[in-house]
């Protein structure tokens, strides 16, 4: 850390001297540039350190003792971790599928008609995006507990928190994200194309399959990838909604943190980081593709 910070200071000092030598650049512009640089350092330094230390040979402490890929090999061999990874992928896949279907339909419904109160619905869609995870998690836990009790007294069903509650919880927050992304891609969709298709004799369902769906598909896939990423990354909601013995990668990592952060944890985190970044880049790429297509 010291190394990086020292670098940063050096950079700042270096940058700070320039206005004296190059008089044309106003000091305000330099202040902004320095600010941007500091922001990036602030954002990325911890991540860079995490990645570095996942290759640190020292088992304990924060001292650098040399390079190793030992921790990654350990990961590969740990059955518990593999089980957690598998659970993560299962939860992410199933919740993404369900949330994408529901979210896309919701976006279509919201974009199509101009019924009263649509704006209120529109804004309400953003709620899960903006409320704190912990609030959502507690609310979902309360919801599960209440409905389980209700179902038990009325139907005699004995339901417990478990994997399915995690999936349901993930569906709950992912619907919002998918809807928001698909709404954006529908906003780019030119309504006149629907008219042109109808004019050429296409019935509403043909218009949907032949024209509308292909054109908003990149948006839907983008939304799905985002949902998948968010699901993989989620800790708080999973932690509350899971039953005993259910562990995703995030809860597994949390369970392993005792008094210090072990290099293994750094290694898992690095793997998750890379995976998420790839997925987010893919998601953005899909969304960008649509806008370049429609113009």
């Amino acid at each position: 850390m010291a190394k990086t910070l020292a670098d940063a200071r050096a950079n700042v000092r270096h940058g700070g001297e320039r206005p004296v030598t190059r008089k044309r650049v106003p000091w305000g512009a330099w202040a902004l540039r320095i600010n941007a640089l500091l922001t990036y350092i602030f954002l990325y330094a911890p991540i860079v350190i995490l990645v570095l230390f996942s290759f640190n040979a020292a088992k304990f402490g924060t001292r650098w003792t040399g390079w190793t890929s030992q921790w990654y090999r350990d990961l590969w061999q740990s059955e518990k971790l593999q089980a957690a990874a598998w659970t993560s992928i299962k939860v992410a896949s199933i919740s993404t599928l369900i949330a994408t279907a529901i979210g896309t339909l919701a976006a279509l419904a919201l974009s199509k008609t101009r019924w009263r109160g649509r704006r209120a619905f529109d804004s309400a869609m953003y709620l899960p995006v903006i409320i704190p995870d912990i609030v959502l998690a507690v609310a979902l836990l309360g919801f599960f507990t209440l409905s389980f009790r209700g179902l038990q007294s009325w139907l005699g069903l004995n339901l417990q928190l478990g994997l399915s509650t995690v999936i349901i919880a993930h569906v709950a927050f992912n619907i919002s994200y998918v809807t928001v992304v698909v709404r954006a891609s529908l906003a780019n969709f030119d309504q006149r194309l629907e008219e042109a298709a109808a004019d050429l004799g296409a019935a509403p369902w043909q218009i949907f399959w032949r024209i509308k769906l292909p054109l908003i598909l990149p948006g839907i896939l983008g939304g799905a990838l985002l949902a998948f990423t968010l699901s993989l990354d989620d800790f708080v909601v999973t932690f509350f909604a899971r039953g005993p013995g259910v562990n995703t990668l995030t809860t597994e990592v949390y369970g392993r943190i005792k008094r210090y952060v072990s290099p293994e944890i750094n290694a898992i985190s690095t793997v998750m980081l890379v995976l998420s970044m790839v997925l987010v880049v893919l998601s953005l790429f899909m969304q960008r593709r649509q806008s370049s297509r429609t113009v």
Binding site: D190, R192, L193, E195, A196, A197, A198, D199, L200, G201, A202, A203, Q206, R210, I211, P214, L215, R293, T294, V295
Partner: protein, 372 residues
């Protein structure tokens, strides 16, 4: 009105009865009544925002009339959805499908009708040749220029051979030469297939040369309907006279009428005799409309005809086929005169020059006495 002769009991291709469309209280189309014959080339002409597109959209079924009824091929289309109407549209905005190739765009209508694949392929090829884009089938719309996109839109509509084709400024994005070629292609196509065209254009020359009949619109209303010559030679209102072609206007008051010729005294005491397409009575406030190519300039002695006024040449513009001259009348108002250059000469004496004096004359049948 039917170009193929009157039928005993004609079924009109399109019939509009008292069609009105209001958006948020303002009328975009106002009480329009039109009967368009089978196989007719019918043009809608009017300034921007006068309701042409709105009228087409109601015929195509994208907007429901606020009032009135639309009958296509004898069937009232009240709330028939667009895809059931045997009408195709060439959209002002092209509206090509961006994810489909040119070929797939053009084939779309036939695919929806379930035409066999082999037939689709040959007809698509023919349609692309028609619009002079035979090698462009595999391109995506975004890889085409505006004019090329417009021609794809045209091919995509025409290929379906609908009863009625609605064309919303289909040639607006083309350069002059291509535009002329496409005008001829369109006209031939329309005659060969017997499709009824309802054609919106801003280009009067295009409307005059292609149409069987023209409807001139303003502020959502149809002001006059008739064959091109009638619209040009016998405009009923000042707006139509002004909108189609060029026109000089002189306000005045009717003083006498004899043998269908109205005597009018202008506000500056010029006495003009002209023809009134609609009945006028002495004392009426009128507008005299005179086309610039329908007057003559004569040098020398005062000619012995009723409409002759001494003028001074103000400005002369030689434009090849014509010379356009602005003259000043005795009352100080200016007047446009177009003289055909019927003789090829470089002699400057053959042309008028600014400052020359002459007599401006016209025969009474070339001066229209309009009531509005």
């Amino acid at each position: 009105m039917n170009p193929h002769g009157p039928a005993a009991n004609p079924v009109w291709a399109v019939e509009l009865n008292h069609v009105t469309k209001t958006f948020h209280g303002t009328a975009a189309v106002c009480d329009v009544n039109l009967r368009i014959a089978d196989g007719e080339f019918f043009s809608l002409l009017g300034p921007s925002g006068c309701g042409k597109t709105t009228l087409l959209r109601m015929i195509a079924g994208f907007e429901a009339p606020s009032d009135g009824s639309i009958i296509i091929g004898g069937t009232s289309v009240g709330d028939m959805p667009p895809h059931r109407r045997d009408v195709n549209t060439v959209f002002q905005s092209y509206a090509l499908f961006p994810h489909l190739s040119v070929r797939e765009n053009v084939a779309f209508g036939l695919q929806m009708k379930g035409v066999p694949k082999a037939e689709i392929a040959t007809r698509v090829q023919a349609a692309l040749e028609l619009v002079q884009l035979p090698g462009f089938g595999d391109r995506k719309p975004r890889q085409l220029s505006g004019g090329q996109q417009q021609r794809v839109a045209l091919a995509r509509a025409v290929i379906n051979r609908p009863k009625v084709l609605l064309l919303d400024e289909p040639l607006a994005a083309l350069d002059l030469k291509l535009r002329k070629e496409m005008q001829i292609e369109l006209k031939m196509l329309q005659e060969r297939l017997g499709i009824t065209f309802i054609f919106v254009t801003h280009d009067q020359e295009e409307a005059l040369s292609l149409s069987d009949r023209i409807a001139v619109m303003n502020h959502g209303s149809v002001l006059q309907v008739g064959p091109p010559a009638e619209i040009y030679e016998r405009p009923l209102t000042q707006f139509v006279a002004d909108f189609i072609g060029e026109c000089n206007f002189l306000p005045g008051r009717v003083t006498a009428i004899s043998d269908g010729i109205a005597e009018v005294e202008t506000s500056s005491a010029l006495r003009i005799s002209g023809t009134a397409p609609q009945p006028v009575a002495p004392g009426d406030q009128v507008m005299i409309a005179i086309r610039p190519e329908k007057v003559r300039l004569i040098e020398g002695e005062r000619p012995s005809i009723s409409n002759a006024f001494p003028v001074q040449i103000e400005r002369v513009a030689y434009i090849g086929s014509d010379t356009r001259i602005i003259v000043r009348l005795p009352d100080g108002s200016s007047f446009d005169v177009w003289e055909s250059n019927t003789i090829s000469t470089l002699d400057p004496a053959a042309y008028y020059a600014a400052g020359d004096k002459a007599w401006l004359t016209w025969t009474p049948q070339n001066a229209l006495v309009l009531t509005e």
